[in-house]
Symmetry: C2
């Protein structure tokens, strides 16, 4: 029978007395700060259920979590939001390491942004232990901090050969974590990767799961991934450890979005069959198909070589990179062996198709693969060019007759996964307002205080002075005239707090009356952890006289913060005693960094005692895209020569993976320092003018310099690669 | 007449309509989130007063501050507590840079722990602008973050020759800031230091104002400091900039407390007369009397040479250091000139009296100074030894006939300064309880949750497992038997939050079941700023198996945190993949650091892949004592050799000022690295045994090594400087 419970003590009593076949019904409403331990036993015929009175009307908030321990237990219809778990798991299929769950089910449960504030604390949302458990029709959105969204653990023998089923779940938006630990689904750990798991993952929808390289990280034997859809995910289904994985009938749609990836093969006896990939753009470890090189006699936590694996009857439409023998280096020196790539279709509507060959591929048998346009093949045999006709199936995938994939099954979609009664949207759709602020004391502060997400604050000509720091807990735009002068007596003008963001347009920012403090910066991030990524845009601004102290920065980040984009365009920076962009606060050598995309376009930097940009990403982690910086049509004059400039550089860049400096002028400045580290960094410096004695100090590989002009008269006109004059446009 | 106001709008209306001679009376109660602008004008005969209905019964809390602008305005009887200012000033004698206060008075106002959360944000409590203002009988206690407690600013001509009076105030406890910016009182800035200020600071009591080197930082001309009492202050009255300072009749009592200082002379035409110093122990810049060397043609922000200055008729009783020509270096190369030191008494009851001579003193005329015990004098003439008799005056100071000081005036005391109606105590006096916790899941977590400040949690034999992190917001002790085993699945076991502290006694801490996370540490500080200093004591504990991840630390601090003491005694650490003590998170090169006193006594460290201790203090600031580390009778075996040990050292110590490593064994470990920086660091390494190839890597000066034994058979018995065997006792 149904037992309606209205509070924690009723719930706890009910759990003590519930009988097989009963349902404990949690009353509609918000259950705050509740740790539920559903420890009891149903039977196969008469399970015990814990459910919401009405699906979606029971929310679990505050410091809360759920543990399921015992046999034949079902949990249905709860929503976890507005809180976080006091432990590192929200929903665990165990009480503790000894008491696990079996034959139990989590269904139609929603977890939405139930994250602790610490970006780099490891928290898992759903953790499966025991055997024969099922997670289905659940909806997981806005995971923001470290730790896998859903994971199967095989810590003890009680969790081996578990045959869990994970199906029809909606794995929603997961932001770029900028670190390892951003997997959406993981089965096993390296330590337990030689155990058989036998989990089935099917009919799930992965929607922009962008945490890191691995959307799925398979780390045990005999798992099946089938009929899942991956929509614009910046990562891959990775067979990281473990053998005998079956990957069938998945649909991976990239839509040409950068860094979208496909299927990555490592280890032995892997099967990749009848999968459909379209519009995937990722390369290297994010290729549409990546076959890795391995480590001879690999330890459990490194790379077992590919053997006895087959990639058969898959279709790749407009996928730009197929990577074979990827990651070949001193350690990963063993090429794929005794494997086949057969009956696959590589189809292009015009986009390039690169077959990257990084190792000896004689261990792969290529057979009867078809390409519709000529390209450079990785093998002399096993490829032919044919004028293939594609038909679009009712489920949206395309197929050709007799070659590649044909997805007959229903395809997992945003509509047929997760729950019907909870939104899958994560973006606000409110309309922005314009708020006008007059010159005076703290008027911009007051305007921001009265703003809401996305609002635009408009300034007129005149001086805006501040004795208060402007904290931004939602994104705003501040837009002035060129006569809008913003000054501040405080250490900082703006602090971007968690959930905040900033766009500055047409302003003059003058540090002339600022406090003399070593912490001065016009803009900082929160000094606390920000679990949400932010953006900073500065356009058509003038920043000057940041000299009240020796260490006056323009923008300075704190640890545990991450910018999707920092973009500085059409702006001038002059007389600055510190750094312009200090993006270097992750000192732990574990591959964490502070900003993904950094754009400097049409800017000038003059009389900067510190560096124009400091970027730091330490360690040798390979889980992230790790920084993408472009500097174009900009001018650096007398930059980086101050005595207190610890970096001793105009640009000090450690661990960036992608760097393009072009069409710019460097004059009487300190050198550009780069430390090119792990992976395959690309640092291109071209079509610049260097009028200074010291140009570069480079360590590591991946640097290319071309068509730079050195020590030429400053009135000499030099053209950039875009036919415009070098320097500001 | 009196105008009683009960809320913000009544207060604001009253300010608009108030007439000379009126008093605006704030109703008793808590005024939360209120920014008061008292902008109006009284007259000399009829001032306008803003006062509490009853003194001490009106509190200002939350995000609040007070500005006074206009003429003849008085503020009386308010208490600022439980909040902080939304600007960087709590009470300012101005509206903005144009509208200042004149002839106004702040009296019997209390500010107690009204600090923002950010330790390193610069906030001033009371800022005087304008002219002829008075701050008297106020009470300022528990200033915790950066920024001066009370300051006089001379930014514009309207604030010059200001003749402010600061008297009978109680400047209460100010903790060691561990950074520059911890001054209690400052008059002027280097930029304005050649302006005449003419402020008078008299009859104030400074009680343990330990923020930094400068209790008082004089930075303008013609100020007077007289009849103040400095009680156990770890700093000095410093004539940092500006000339014609008059320092008379002050009483400085050190009571033998470490780092207590006296009067420091820099610049020209300074007068130090009839002051009484007793029991001051500081040296170098904290001598009982320090005369600095100067910089030839010094810029405003450096050191102007001492000229035409007189130190006359002062008494020093049991003060250990008189420092003459202090700070002499390449830059500060100019010795004192045309100055006299005359009629002073240096009296010892047996404690040593060092006259430190750091430069040519021929520019100082020494005349008729008296010493009661023979010592090494700084000059051949001008000193004589006499058997002086001291008489104790009713005010507690001592004097001798015809020599030194005689303090006739009333002496400022804890009783006759500040207010009568608010406590001057800052320590809790509540009695500690003992809370017993049984073995099991999260039982220690639960016990801590139910504890209060100072409580002792007692564990029995057995395993205490944790899936929750224990956050400490008040100090506690956890005391076990040796059979109390504490384990944790989380990244951290303890987090010391602001106002927290931890003492661990008789525990075994085992990392065997901890999460695999790069952020693992048994204990961390808050990841947020802590504005209060904390302590960590570990005694008789065993810590092992911190190996779940490559970077598993025992204790790891965050930026903007500061430990008064980290003490590890009688404990064993083994199998640790990271560092034992990671005290290195202040990466900005501005002299900030993370811990003052670090004690390792009778401990062993075995198989530690990271460093045993990392300490970092960057930059060249000289405002702090900057780290005091002792390592005694400890053993380091296989420490610091892990591949991921970024420090490549067993001990990696940057910028420590005092280091004593003795009676210890270093075996098969990485080297001890030291970077000895600014000031006069002392690093002594003596009576140790080194059984390893690499002993030290030292940069900088101040290192001394003696009586260490190298590469001897491990069964050879070597005795320490205390006659005990080297190694653990
Ligand atoms: Ca990963
Ligand atoms: Ca100072």
């Amino acid at each position: 029978s149904d037992i309606l419970v209205k509070n924690q003590s009723e719930l706890e009593s009910a759990i003590k007395t519930v009988k097989p076949g009963d349902a404990i019904v949690m009353a509609n409403g918000d259950w705050r700060n509740i740790e539920i331990l559903l420890e009891t036993n149903g039977t196969a015929k008469s399970p015990i259920t814990l459910r919401a009175q009405q699906k979606g009307k029971v929310t679990i908030s505050g410091e809360s979590n759920l543990r399921i321990a015992g046999n034949y237990l079902n949990v249905e219809g709860l929503v976890f939001k507005n809180g976080n778990s006091p432990t590192s798991e929200i929903i665990a299929f165990r009480k503790d390491s000894k008491k696990l769950a079996y034959n139990s089910r989590l269904t139609e449960v929603v977890i939405d942004n139930f994250n602790g504030p610490e970006r780099n604390n490891v928290e898992a949302w759903v953790v499966l232990f025991g055997r024969n458990n099922r997670v289905d029709h659940c909806q997981f959105i806005n995971k923001r901090n470290q730790g896998v969204t859903l994971t199967v653990r095989l810590d003890t023998d009680e969790s081996a050969e578990n045959k869990h089923q994970i199906d029809h779940n909606y794995f929603g938006y997961r932001q770029n974590l900028g670190s390892n630990g951003g997997e959406t689904l993981r089965i096993g750990t390296s330590h337990n990767s030689m155990k058989n798991s036998q989990s089935i993952v099917e009919y799930n929808y992965f929607d922009k799961c962008n945490g890191e390289h691995e959307i799925i990280s398979n780390k045990s034997n005999q798992n099946t991934y089938r009929f899942n859809t991956f929509f614009e995910c910046k990562g891959t289904l990775t067979m990281r450890h473990g053998n005998e994985t079956w990957v069938e009938g998945n649909v991976l749609i990239g839509n040409g979005v950068a860094f979208t990836g496909g299927i990555r093969v490592i280890n032995e006896k892997q099967t990749v069959i009848n999968n459909y990939c379209e519009g995937l753009t990722g390369n290297r470890f994010r290729g549409a198909l990546t076959i890795m090189n391995g480590v001879p006699n690999s330890p459990l936590n490194r790379y077992v070589s590919v053997k006895e694996s087959n990639v058969t009857n898959n279709t790749f439409v407009d996928c730009t990179h197929i990577e074979l023998g990827a990651g070949n280096d001193k350690e990963r020196s063993e090429s794929p062996q005794t494997s086949t790539i057969k009956n696959n279709l590589f189809y292009s509507n015009g986009s390039p198709q690169h077959f990257g060959v990084y190792a000896d591929l004689s261990g792969i048998s290529f057979e009867n693969n078809v390409v519709n346009k000529t390209t450079t093949f990785p093998s002399k045999t096993g490829f032919k060019v044919e004028d293939v006709k594609l038909n679009t199936l009712p489920n949206g995938t395309k197929c050709a007759k007799g070659i590649g994939a044909e997805i007959k099954e229903a395809v997992a979609s945003k509509e047929n996964t997760g729950v019907k009664w909870y939104s899958k949207n994560t973006e606000s759709t409110e309309k922005a307002n314009i708020i006008k602020a007059q010159p005076g004391l703290n008027t911009l502060f007051d305007a921001v205080k009265n703003s809401k997400s996305g609002d635009i604050i408009e300034l007129t000509d005149g001086e805006y002075n501040h004795t208060k720091v402007i904290h931004l807990s939602h994104p705003i735009t501040v837009r002035g005239t060129k006569g809008s002068i913003v000054t501040f007596e405080t250490n900082n003008l703006f602090v971007i707090e968690n959930e905040g963001g900033l766009r500055l347009v047409n302003l003059t920012i003058d540090g002339k009356i600022s406090n003399d403090s070593p912490l001065n910066a016009v803009i900082t991030t929160s000094k606390y952890s920000m679990n949400k990524n932010y953006n900073l845009f500065v356009d058509n601004c003038t920043v000057k006289n940041l000299t009240a102290n020796n260490f006056f920065n323009f923008f300075k980040v704190a640890t545990s913060t991450f910018a999707d984009t920092v973009s500085i365009t059409n702006s001038s920076f002059s007389k600055i005693s510190g750094d312009v962009l200090a993006l270097n606060k992750e000192g732990d050598e574990i591959g964490i960094y502070n900003a993904e995309t950094i754009i400097i376009d049409n800017c000038d930097f003059t009389d900067i005692e510190g560096a124009a940009i400091i970027f730091y990403r330490g360690g040798s982690d390979e889980s992230t895209t790790a920084g993408y910086m472009t500097i174009n049509h900009s001018e650096f004059k007398n930059v980086g020569l101050g005595k207190k400039n610890a970096s001793k550089a105009a640009l000090d860049l450690v661990g960036l993976q992608n760097l393009d400096i072009k069409n710019s002028i460097f004059e009487k400045s300190s050198a550009i320092k780069m430390l090119l580290t792990v992976g395959e960094p690309k640092a291109e410096v071209h079509h610049n003018v260097f009028n200074q004695s010291s140009d570069f100090e480079i360590k590591g590989e991946g640097f290319s310099e071309k068509e730079n002009s050195k020590n030429i008269a400053s009135n000499t006109k030099v053209m950039g690669d875009d036919k415009l004059s070098i320097g500001r446009k």
